[in-house]
């Protein structure tokens, strides 16, 4: 076998991707031939192949040993269970069946896993890893618990707006919302699921396209903004108490991105006594956050870095509404942090390749109902 001198001409990531596909059983005929050619051509590629495969094998071994250790507890419990029933894992008494099943498979699969696992590794190490896995499960449980508590609290919460972009037109790229009951701002559109990301709720979601709008001069910006006005005029009696809290929550998502990239999601809301008279007035108000903050009765915002590993992240914020508030302006924003760092506050308008928002909810409640 002759090693070709141009080993470095093949990106390492290409070989890695092919190896991953081979391991996951998703490689096709073309991919397999490409992988084999790379391996035939170069000792360096074969060394990389061996290193990566050994890591796959070691990870399987570590994970299997952990499961096997945990399953030994399950097997003991199974002996005490009536035929046809499977006892719950006593090590995680609060686990829901669905969660347990999602992580460790069906009882049959778990039993099979136990039979397949031969090795026993250092118990001290696995007690730490066991805590890590139970931490994941606990995280799922806690998330569920939070949602349950929220649902319970909603007996005293007024849902005034919910949009998961299932219907209605895409936002108008006019730079501002212009009028209630319509999204408006920078270039964005409502899209269906993509191979790399599913909507957080329903079948559609909002996709940020560009950090500018039609006619913006100059066409600059690192942040895509989409706004919507919520009309509060039907809630003046609640607002008159002066202790009404408005809460906004939304999901922000992204397709996976390189570690060299940086994106932020931002959620804003502003209480307004009246709406700007025309498009020019809207642009003056919205052009800078400071104008909006100064021109509103109250405002709140929250920013969060998007993770390259987590598809959807939830942002929420709450503020007290002054009694004279008649409109609530909510803003969904995504910023390209890298463009901002490189070019300052006015880079050429960023084009977003895969940042989204979904499942926007606005609620009102009395502050005195908190406890």
């Amino acid at each position: 076998m002759i090693d070709h001198p141009k080993d470095s001409s093949v990106p390492k990531s290409t070989l890695t991707e092919l190896i991953d596909q081979y391991c996951f059983g998703s490689i096709d005929e073309v991919g397999l031939e490409q992988l084999q050619q790379l391996l035939r051509d170069s000792r360096a590629h074969r060394d990389q192949f061996r290193q990566e495969m050994q890591l796959h094998a070691a990870l399987h071994e570590v994970a299997d040993s952990l499961v096997s250790d945990l399953l030994s507890d399950t097997d003991r419990l199974d002996l005490q269970s009536p035929p046809g029933q499977v006892a719950s894992l006593s090590v995680w008494p609060s686990l829901g069946e669905g969660v347990e099943h999602a992580v460790f498979g069906s009882p049959v699969e778990r039993s099979q896993a136990a039979k397949l696992s031969i090795n026993r590794l250092n118990r001290n190490f696995f007690s730490r890893i066991g805590a890590a896995v139970s931490g994941l499960l606990l995280g799922i449980i806690l998330t569920t618990a939070i949602w349950a508590a929220t649902a319970s609290a909603r007996t005293r919460v007024l849902n005034i707006f919910h949009d998961s972009f299932e219907s209605g037109p895409s936002p108008v790229a006019s730079g501002s919302p212009m009028e209630p009951d319509a999204w408006g701002g920078d270039h964005a559109k409502i899209v269906e699921a993509l191979p790399s990301i599913q909507p957080a709720n329903g079948k559609r979601m909002l996709r940020f396209l560009r950090a500018d709008y039609v006619g913006k001069d100059p066409p600059t910006g690192h942040m895509g903004d989409v706004y919507r006005v919520i009309d509060l005029q039907g809630h003046t009696s609640e607002l008159s108490h002066g202790d009404t809290l408005a809460a906004v929550e939304a999901a922000f998502g992204s397709v996976p991105f390189d570690e060299s990239q940086l994106f932020h999601a931002k959620l804003t809301m502003y209480a307004l006594a009246k709406l700007p008279a025309d498009e020019a007035a809207w642009h003056v108000l919205i052009r800078a956050p400071v104008h909006l903050a100064e021109g509103s009765l109250a405002s709140a915002s929250r920013r969060q870095e998007l993770s390259s590993d987590i598809t959807w992240q939830q942002l929420s914020l709450e503020m007290r509404l002054p009694s004279e508030a008649r409109y609530l302006l909510i803003g969904l924003h995504v910023a390209d942090g890298y463009a901002a760092r490189k070019h300052g506050s006015s880079p050429p308008a960023v084009e977003f390749e895969g940042q989204f928002a979904d499942d926007v909810r606005v609620t009102l409640r009395r502050a005195s109902d908190r406890d």
């Binding site: 991953d20 061996r50 994941l136 990301i197 397709v255 996976p256």
Partner: protein, 178 residues
């Protein structure tokens, strides 16, 4: 008594080298179920022919010879219904693997120690998800559904974690060598 002694001796040797033989088989087949199946065959053949082994120090080398044969036999069966590496390439990979492993006897252990350390250095969510994903019985599609991500996203996520682990392991092994 002699049979019992042989059994004890065999179990001791097999457990000592089972991890390395398994790694060898997985490297060539790239499939956990196939690896489990072949490892059963290998253990059976090794036990049946254990009487022929004169020197315990040769167990690993002998195990590799048996494993290589069993892998190639299994490859012929697998090739009927899934994509696997061709036989010539498998032989080449096998020969290089065995030569390197026998020359660097500690490498396998170093890899495992480094992996343990590198797993601990991961962020909690990354460590949790990669161990969950690699456990037997975990279906990537159902795990992805539970996490509200697509299987493709989860595969990419796992790929990024694995690359971080690979870099970490390389650094640890280099520093251990120096």
């Amino acid at each position: 008594m002699e049979i019992e002694d042989d059994a004890t001796r065999f179990v001791r040797l097999f457990m000592l080298y089972e991890r390395r033989l398994r790694s060898f088989v997985f490297t060539l087949l790239g499939n956990r179920d196939a690896t489990d199946e072949v490892m059963q065959e290998i253990s059976t053949v090794l036990w049946k022919k254990f009487g022929q082994l004169e020197d315990d120090d040769c167990f690993l080398k002998w195990g590799y010879v048996v494993a290589r044969y069993e892998v190639l036999m299994h490859r012929r069966r697998l090739a009927r219904d899934r994509f696997v590496l061709d036989e010539g390439l498998m032989k080449l990979l096998s020969d290089e693997f065995v030569a390197d492993e026998l020359e660097n006897a500690d490498r396998s252990e170093q890899l495992r120690k480094s992996l343990d350390g590198c797993l601990e250095s991961l962020r909690d969510p990354d460590r949790q998800i990669i161990l969950t994903a690699y456990a037997s019985g975990t279906k990537i599609a159902s795990l992805a559904e539970r996490m509200n991500v697509t299987p493709g996203s989860l595969y990419k996520w796992l790929g990024r974690i694995r690359r971080r682990l690979q870099r970490c392991i390389e650094l640890k092994m280099i520093s251990a060598t120096n």
